[in-house]
């Protein structure tokens, strides 16, 4: 096909400018001597130093990472087990369970947020880190299941039979044969769960309580009074970390593409 390369590149570049502009601005102002985030007046690193003395901000960061990590690990484990269970076994009501699993994916987050808040209140559970992590697990599991399921359906169905033909019991089969071939699906599910958790505002807003102040909630509370550039500095550092992780994972996946082309 003859395609207009120039037009293609203009479209791609414009979309990327749109996507990265707000982030770029935040990073830029993290080096700004003025604390107003309005005009760039000069270069400084002192906001990065300040960052380490801003206790509530650091606490919010730690909470955020704690929630993201623990909910990712738990939802990945439960999601993987569940995806395999739903793939392998038949049981009464499986259809209903399958339908229920789509709910967190499709309904507006606010509905899931107030539903969890309501049930927490009904159960007299005090809002805090536990309820927050549980909420994040709740909305992450279905995404992990979908991701692992796509790996399962593309897996050779004879693998399992071959394993049991060779004398492996079902647990051995799962751990030695099935699980290794699901790794890409599990990893992308975990990635998704982690980024969903980092990104979430709405559900956290309803399910977090005092003592479980996370980064988005912290920023939400100070955004109207004015955000100081040490927050920009923190965001820049987070972005840097993400960028490093992404670059590594991209290099790995690009090698795989190259391998496939051969």
């Amino acid at each position: 096909m003859r395609n207009n390369k120039l037009l293609d590149n203009i479209v791609i570049i414009s979309v990327f400018i749109f996507l990265f502009l707000p982030i770029f601005v935040l990073i830029l102002f993290s080096f700004n001597t003025s604390e107003l985030n309005i005009i760039f007046e000069g270069f400084t690193l002192h906001w990065y130093k300040d960052l380490f003395y801003n206790r509530s901000l650091l606490e919010a960061l730690i909470n955020t990472l704690l929630v993201a990590l623990s909910s990712t690990i738990i939802s990945t484990i439960i999601g993987t087990i569940s995806a395999y269970g739903l793939y392998k076994y038949d049981f009464k009501g499986k259809k209903i369970i399958n339908e229920l699993l789509y709910i967190p994916i499709v309904i507006p987050e606010i509905v899931l947020g107030i539903s969890l808040l309501s049930i927490y209140t009904l159960m007299k559970m005090e809002l805090g880190m536990f309820t927050l992590i549980l909420a994040h697990i709740t909305f992450s599991i279905p995404f992990v299941i979908v991701s692992v399921r796509s790996s399962l359906t593309s897996m050779d169905p004879n693998l399992e039979q071959a394993a049991s033909d060779l004398g492996a019991d079902s647990l051995t089969t799962f751990f030695r044969v099935i699980l290794p071939s699901l790794v890409p699906g599990i990893l992308s599910g975990a990635e998704l769960a982690f980024s969903l958790s980092l990104d979430d505002v709405v559900i956290s807003y309803f399910t977090a309580g005092p003592g479980s102040n996370t980064l988005p909630l912290h920023i939400y509370s100070i955004i109207k009074t004015g955000v100081t550039p040490d927050v920009n500095a923190l965001i820049s550092l987070m972005l840097l970390t993400i960028f490093i992780v992404l670059t590594i994972s991209m290099v790995i996946s690009l090698r795989k593409i190259k391998g496939d082309e051969r």
Partner: protein
């Protein structure tokens, strides 16, 4: 016996999870929506349709219309941006495609609130965009880029764009390029090839994207709070207020149930046109 235990290990967690953390909370919200609110922020256990009736109050109808309008506009703008972008990316080689699609996701690994703050810095009266335009003498007075509908739509489009780009791209990238060549070979120009070949094939993906943009757009109260300036309300703000400030849970629950119903009508249409549920989460 041993097999039975193994079987339970694999299926009990998902059953418990979906019943306790998905079904139960939503059923409870459904029940609440028939309760009555007492004046102290508590609930009276009864059965009333009052909450659903009061949705038809003109104030709330206005909020409904506003929400739908914002969501529909957001959805259309996302479509208009995503199609050319996904097509342009699909013209690149495999390596470049994979880099570009990863880059699309990078901003979303930060928090959406943080990105909204970035937009505030850009859009406000003394924000970066106005400063730049003023210093270049393109405008004489700063533009009102936020605290209005424009700001809300920018925030919504920005936050939801990847949900349109991803399904469209994955659908477009699986189109056999020979179909496009056949179309061109048979005399179709680019626009005809798009409307007659690409659009019909990618329609389920377009609907998927539309769904994943439209329904969240009804609920993102924080975008409206931050970029709308507090005067404008959408369904998300209404629900949030009922639960956290007005403390009228039954009414808030009724609106939430309504949102669920709207979502499910859209899902039914999506399934009818051949969309797969798993694609929604991918």
């Amino acid at each position: 016996m041993k097999n039975k235990i193994i079987r339970s290990i694999f299926i009990v967690p998902v059953i418990l999870y979906s019943l306790l953390l998905i079904a139960l909370p939503i059923i409870y919200v459904l029940i609440i929506s028939f309760y009555k609110n007492d004046s102290y922020g508590g609930m009276i256990r009864t059965f009333t349709l009052e909450n659903y009736m009061s949705i038809f109050n003109s104030v709330y109808i206005g909020i409904f219309l506003k929400s739908f309008l914002i969501a529909v506009i957001t959805m259309f703008i996302c479509m208009i941006i995503s199609y050319p972008f996904a097509l342009a990316v699909s013209h690149k080689n495999a390596k470049t495609q994979s880099i570009f699609m990863t880059l699309v996701m990078v901003p979303f690994l930060t928090n959406s609130l943080i990105r909204m703050y970035g937009w505030i810095v850009l859009l406000r009266k003394n924000g970066v965009i106005n400063q730049v335009l003023l210093s270049l003498n393109i405008i004489k007075n700063p533009l009102n880029l936020m605290y209005n509908n424009l700001g809300i739509v920018i925030g919504m489009v920005y936050t939801l764009l990847p949900f349109m780009i991803l399904p469209l791209y994955s659908s477009i990238s699986t189109i056999d390029y020979r179909l496009l060549e056949a179309s061109s070979d048979l005399g179709a120009n680019k626009w005809k090839t798009f409307t007659k070949v690409i659009l019909p094939i990618t329609f389920p993906a377009l609907f998927n994207g539309g769904l994943m943009v439209f329904t969240p757009a009804l609920g993102f109260f924080f975008i409206v709070d931050l970029l709308g300036g507090g005067k404008i309300m959408i369904l998300g703000n209404l629900i949030k207020n009922q639960f956290l400030t007005a403390r009228n849970w039954p009414f808030g629950a009724a609106i939430a149930i309504l949102l669920i119903i709207i979502t499910y009508i859209l899902i039914m249409i999506y399934r009818k046109i051949g969309g797969k549920m798993d694609d929604l989460g991918a």
